[in-house]
Assembly symmetry: C2
Homo-oligomer: 276 residues x 2
Amino acid sequence: MSVVLDGRETTDKVMGEVAAEVEALKARGVTPGLAIVLTGDDKNSARYVGLKKKRAEEVGIYAELYHLEQTTDKELVALIHRLNDDPKIHGIMVQLPLAEGLSELKAVDAIAPEKDVDGLSPNTLGRVLMGEDCFPPAGIEAIMELLRRYGINPNRKHWVIVGSSNFLSKPLAAYVMNLSSNVTQVDEGCPHIAKRIKDADVISTEIQKKHFVKADMVKEGVIIIDNGNTYEGKKVYGDVDPEVYEKASAYTPVPGGTGPMLIAMLLKATVKAASL
Amino acid sequence: MSVVLDGRETTDKVMGEVAAEVEALKARGVTPGLAIVLTGDDKNSARYVGLKKKRAEEVGIYAELYHLEQTTDKELVALIHRLNDDPKIHGIMVQLPLAEGLSELKAVDAIAPEKDVDGLSPNTLGRVLMGEDCFPPAGIEAIMELLRRYGINPNRKHWVIVGSSNFLSKPLAAYVMNLSSNVTQVDEGCPHIAKRIKDADVISTEIQKKHFVKADMVKEGVIIIDNGNTYEGKKVYGDVDPEVYEKASAYTPVPGGTGPMLIAMLLKATVKAASL
């Protein structure tokens, strides 16, 4: 029987705990504060950051939204520096991708490591690689939180990570290198991808290819972490074919797996930043 | 026939090129400057940094050596901040390990990314992972320089990296993730280490176990990068048994492989920093 790593149910639990922690912090005179920075005029991004602000406020976090429709690297970096120095703000998240023409590296590099609650900056990613204290990318925290809640030890496994983004797959590989695990990172174009996947105790995918991973590609008992999101109309599909679930010992469904966890992880990190 | 990736010969070539670049920079009014920071009273470290200074001066680099026998995190960080602001200094290298009681993370985190010519700071390691411009750790540069000089393309290979240090193996895995390659990172205690190694197109070892890798563990035509150094008296041995060399298409010997390249790579990075 395979265990469903239920991101919706887990999100509800995490949000309840985060709300309780916020209350405890407020009793000590600290209100956790989150600044959200959005650039450009993408409607979906605007909706998503609006949801982040709403969820933050639901658990009692003080949230500020900065929407810079037209901006420059210099202005954006100056805003982030100002937020670094603002004692009301414990966490800063910059919505990616930025509006066209802006440097993502300059923006994320400006975030102070102790306020980088979404795990975007090079300094944070270096700390992830070194195994040092930091706020890892929310996508990594979502995976680790789900595994923890369902009693699955991520250590001493052979992880195969399919994907190469800077906000999930590469940092996840770096993170796993500190878990006494083997880790193999491949991208979609890798000629021996099937062979690599077959070896995995844990597979994490992030390639946006609907149902790319099939049952005959994995071994019995594998743990599936599916970070794929391919939209067809209003329906969303993962990178892993549901026929794989039967062979898996545990899996994150799509939808309802890692996706819903992301905001909760951002808020949890913000509260942790406020408590430090 | 296997190709010997000769670190001594390549070092001589690189040093000649670096000397010529220094001359060209001086003609433009810029003298590359390197600050070397040593803590504690370890005799071997003192000898090694002395050699770094000497080699730097041989190629015309201005070098300063700061030897802090007794110091604190605060003092050390203040010195590094001062060097960050010093226009004569283009590169800063802090000799690791630090003297007991000092925080390595605090020290390396203080180095400005544009002066981090030995690739030690979390910011640099994050940039390595992201595939962004930076000065990668000298050990990585040594490997890539050797491969380049001998016409070996590091891309689109299956790399197996045995080791987990913060100054070579983990950053190397991060680096390789940006080469359209597969990468598997394992540490010495991994139960399936033999199986992983057998799959490799390129093996990099850094486990300090004399002749750990044997001929029957690798596939025909493998490229061997041996970063091991096990001393027995004055003799030094790599992690790879020389019996493997016959099966390899190319290999770095020990001694005379990657080791001699390290100082040259530091100096090359210093000159690059000065030219930017």
